[in-house]
Symmetry: C2
DNA sequence: CCGAGATGATAAGTTGACATACTATCTGCC
DNA sequence: GGCAGATAGTATGTCAACTTATCATCTCGG
């Protein structure tokens, strides 16, 4: 035990591994999406996807749905609106709230992108067999759900 | 096929799950580290840890070691230097490079923090059994290594 | 030994994520 | 009916991560 003092290297800690995977995931996403001729980040896509399922959701609702805070969603929404992908209108029933809906263009982009995003998921976890991939997703989902319950 | 079109919800995609875990991980880290009376981010800790193992490493080496790019490490190093945790000196053998070493304070902080960081790892994956935790780490490490090999 | 290309660091710009604080509005309770 | 407290959104500031561009320096081939 003289080498370079290797108490549990950081590279075996969940925290570090997750950070690393996050980084890989983002890179793959941007590459593939750009390759398909679009310019959306993972979070922007998640927002579009959610709005596709829940038209008229307000920003706070969207934030909760994809587990971000309101400030972050405000900024993301700014960009989506600027790109012409979502409409943002003051809610008739609560003037504090902005209801978000996809524009036609937004719906088109979402439809075009869904299969692309679907397809790139396996690249995020390279080197895993199909079975390992399933396991990983199950474990990650379990942890994320537990966190949401506690959170 | 009339509902709200629920093809593979985003919440079962690795990309989204990883983003979520990353977020949880960062939050837990900051909470625990602050609770211990320190103010370091995960990346700052990773940098300290690496410098503890490899004193005199330059910024590019550090960047490679913790899988970040040079620009990011430059900024991180700025903050660590400002906090008095690392020394940054121009390398005598290559005047482009800055050699990084822990200050005494940096070494002390690292020593105090290591057990704290060790202990919080399991909180990052709440709701998993010990066995599932091990599985997760093994799968994540395998994927991360595969990604590193592919470049 | 010298110039071409590689490499270390920094600068500037974009995105995301969060905290905090502030404004506008809504809701519930007295 | 009106005030207290909750909630929606924005503004601001910090930190991280990555891109691209630039500068300084190094190294290697001729």
């Amino acid at each position: 035990m003289k080498t370079t003092a290797t108490k549990a290297p950081i590279s075996r800690m969940p925290g570090h591994l997750i950070r690393r995977l996050h980084q890989i995931s983002t890179k793959v996403f941007l590459q593939r999406v750009r390759g398909a001729g679009f310019d959306l980040t993972p979070v922007q896509f998640a927002a579009l996807d959610t709005l596709g399922r829940h038209p008229g959701l307000d920003q706070a609702g969207l934030a909760q749905n994809i587990a971000k805070d309101r400030a972050t969603i405000g900024a993301v929404t700014d960009r989506l609106e600027q790109k012409g992908l979502v409409h943002r209108v003051v809610s008739p029933r609560d003037r504090r709230a902005r209801e978000l809906t996809l524009s036609d263009e937004g719906a088109r982009v979402l439809a075009a992108l869904r299969p692309v995003v679907m397809a790139l998921q396996s690249e995020i976890l390279p080197g895993l067999t199909a079975e390992e991939y399933r396991q990983f997703v199950a474990l990650a989902a379990k942890a994320a759900e537990a966190a949401a319950r506690e959170g």
